[in-house]
């Protein structure tokens, strides 16, 4: 514990990361209290104040229908985090299980599962997500589904590689010798040894999922209006650059803060857990 604190405190970038993540998570949870105009997260129209440059009380300005951009960014954080959490909550168990099976069982199982993973990895992620969204309706749920479909193979690869090396360890043989079942060896012996790496990757990925989700909604394939989303806010404002710069710059900065924060925390975690590879 002391060592953890020491490593974190010593590195200013880790502290910055923690601060950024704290800001994002805190504002997402307490959005209702922080946002000056909570009702602006929906389909509100206020033409009296439309397209205003940043000034009090609209510190980040207003958008084309007069909604407070600051409030919408805070609610967008909530959506992004939820999306990230749900995507990882589905993708990680799937990816980890497949990786363990392929790595531990070997043979044809390994061959089949890893080639399947390779197929998914060989399709550019955005293209895969776009094609899924193209077939299905572009809703938040389908967006999560699309991002999940392209996310699990990375965990399969990660866990597969760790499993391959861990299964040669003495404790795995020792467990097999006292008659442990394959399931026991995979999930109770090997999996706990993968957890540090998985956790590190998850933290890093939370940022990337937010980025990908924003890219999707930038292309109009993700979260649909009037739900606030960082990607679609940037997309809407892009037409009015450079005059109404606040429409794009602030949501863009918000994406930067979230992704940058989670990346720094991921790096810090990597150091703390000793999962450099």
């Amino acid at each position: 514990m002391q060592r953890t604190l020491y490593i974190l405190l010593r590195n200013p970038m880790s502290m910055l990361g923690l601060l950024l993540v704290f800001i994002v998570v805190f504002s997402a949870i307490f959005a209702d209290f922080i946002a000056p105009f909570p009702e602006h997260r929906g389909a509100v129209v206020d033409f009296a104040n439309f397209n205003r440059a940043p000034e009090w009380p609209y510190i980040f300005g207003t958008d084309l229908v007069g909604r407070d951009i600051f409030s919408r960014i805070i609610y967008a954080f909530r959506i992004s985090l939820m999306l990230g959490a749900v995507v990882l909550a589905i993708a990680v168990p799937i990816g980890v299980t497949i990786g363990l099976l392929a790595g531990y069982l070997g043979g044809w199982t390994e061959y089949f599962l890893m080639r399947l993973t390779d197929v998914f990895l060989s399709i550019p992620p955005l293209v895969l997500a776009m094609s899924i969204m193209g077939v299905l309706e572009p809703t938040l749920t389908n967006g999560m589904l699309a991002v999940t479909a392209m996310w699990w193979p990375w965990y399969t690869r990660l866990v597969y590689n760790i499993t391959r090396s861990e299964k040669e360890e003495g404790y795995v043989l020792a467990a097999e010798v006292i008659g442990a079942s394959r399931l026991h060896v995979m999930f109770r012996e090997i999996l706990p040894n993968c957890v540090p790496s998985i956790l590190t990757k998850m933290t890093l990925d939370l940022g990337f999922v937010i980025l990908i989700a924003s890219s999707l909604s930038f292309l109009g394939l993700g979260v649909q209006p009037p739900t606030p989303d960082l990607g679609s806010m940037v997309a809407e404002g892009a037409t009015y650059l450079p005059d109404s710069w606040w429409l794009t710059v602030f949501p863009g900065l918000a994406i930067l803060v979230a992704v940058f924060g989670f990346n720094l925390v991921g790096d810090a975690l990597r150091e703390v857990l000793g999962t450099d590879q």
């Binding site: 043979g107 404790y171 467990a175 006292i178 008659g179 442990a180 079942s181 706990p192 040894n193």
Partner: protein, 296 residues
């Protein structure tokens, strides 16, 4: 006479490769009676460890392995047992100790948790407090000074010698009738190794456990075993009581092996020319050491 704890007859093993089958064991026979400590001695690659793995049934799972011959455990042919019955024997009726004790323990669990898992093999409903009590007793038997503290430690917090003793305690916790010791403690330094082996000998004597002791270290074997099989390139070349065999090695390979026991002026690994008369010298069996015939 009851059936020997372990009886192996004409055991052959080959590995299927691209260029045909590579023969590893050329029909070895051996037996271990109840409470007997038998050593299998040979150099690296002579087939010592694979023999232990066949007894445990681990090698048969490999698709490339071709195993034939008889392996009888307490009078039961292991090949005829169902996979489940066979796996039930592991960890209860037979257990194994490995070369490197530290890597044999999972670094993410405390010793106490792993001890609990081992004990659950025999007593499926055992609870943590009970398991702890039994574990403390077992650790006291292997002379671990503060068993409660050891149980709360992780394997990497204990010394190699402590881990080795923990492994011995775990291996004997379920009162197995056969203990396979695959070069135990080779990863440890010599003094610690000697201590733990002495401890292990006392314990197996006390529990009447049969031991198959696999080693390349003749000094250790001489200390530990009642009877010795010398294996060379997949064949048993000499079989005799430990004392007799060390006093009077008769097979050319055993004689060469004895000469290779480290001295300040060591002569390296013994080698017999594959086409020489010596290589084909028949199995030497010392007086009173024949293979028992099937009891049934």
């Amino acid at each position: 006479m009851s059936a020997p704890t372990l009886r192996i007859k004409d055991l052959r093993l080959g590995f299927q490769g691209w260029s045909g089958t590579v023969e590893v064991l050329h029909g070895i026979s051996m037996h271990i009676r109840k409470g007997e400590r038998v050593a299998l001695v040979g150099e690296s690659g002579s087939g010592k460890s694979v023999t232990a793995r066949i007894v445990l049934g681990l090698l048969q799972q490999l698709r490339s392995a071709r195993v034939s011959g008889l392996v009888e455990f307490e009078g039961r042919d292991l090949e005829k047992l169902k996979a489940r019955e066979r796996s039930r024997l592991r960890g209860t009726a037979m257990s194994m100790i490995f070369q490197d004790p530290t890597s044999s323990l999972n670094p993410v669990y405390t010793i106490g948790v792993q001890f609990h898992e081992v004990l659950r093999r025999r007593h499926p409903d055992i609870r943590m407090p009970q398991a702890r009590e039994m574990a403390i007793k077992a650790l006291q038997d292997v002379a671990i000074p503060d068993p409660a503290r050891a149980l709360d430690s992780y394997s990497f917090q204990l010394s190699g010698g402590m881990n080795q003793r923990v492994m011995i305690a775990m291996a004997l916790a379920n009162e197995p009738s056969l203990l396979l010791a695959d070069e135990p403690g080779t990863a440890l330094d010599v003094t610690v190794q000697a201590q733990t082996l002495k401890l292990m000998r006392d314990l197996v004597e006390e529990h009447h456990t049969s031991v198959l002791f696999i080693s390349h270290n003749l000094g250790v074997v001489r200390e530990f075993a009642d009877r010795v099989y010398v294996i060379y390139k997949g064949r048993i070349v000499e079989h005799g009581p430990a004392e007799g065999l060390f006093e009077d090695p008769r097979h050319p390979y055993t004689q060469a092996l004895m000469r290779a026991v480290p001295r300040l002026t060591g002569g390296g690994i013994p080698e017999i020319d594959d086409v020489s008369q010596d290589y084909f010298a028949p199995l030497v069996v010392h007086e009173g050491c024949g293979e028992p015939e099937a009891v049934s």
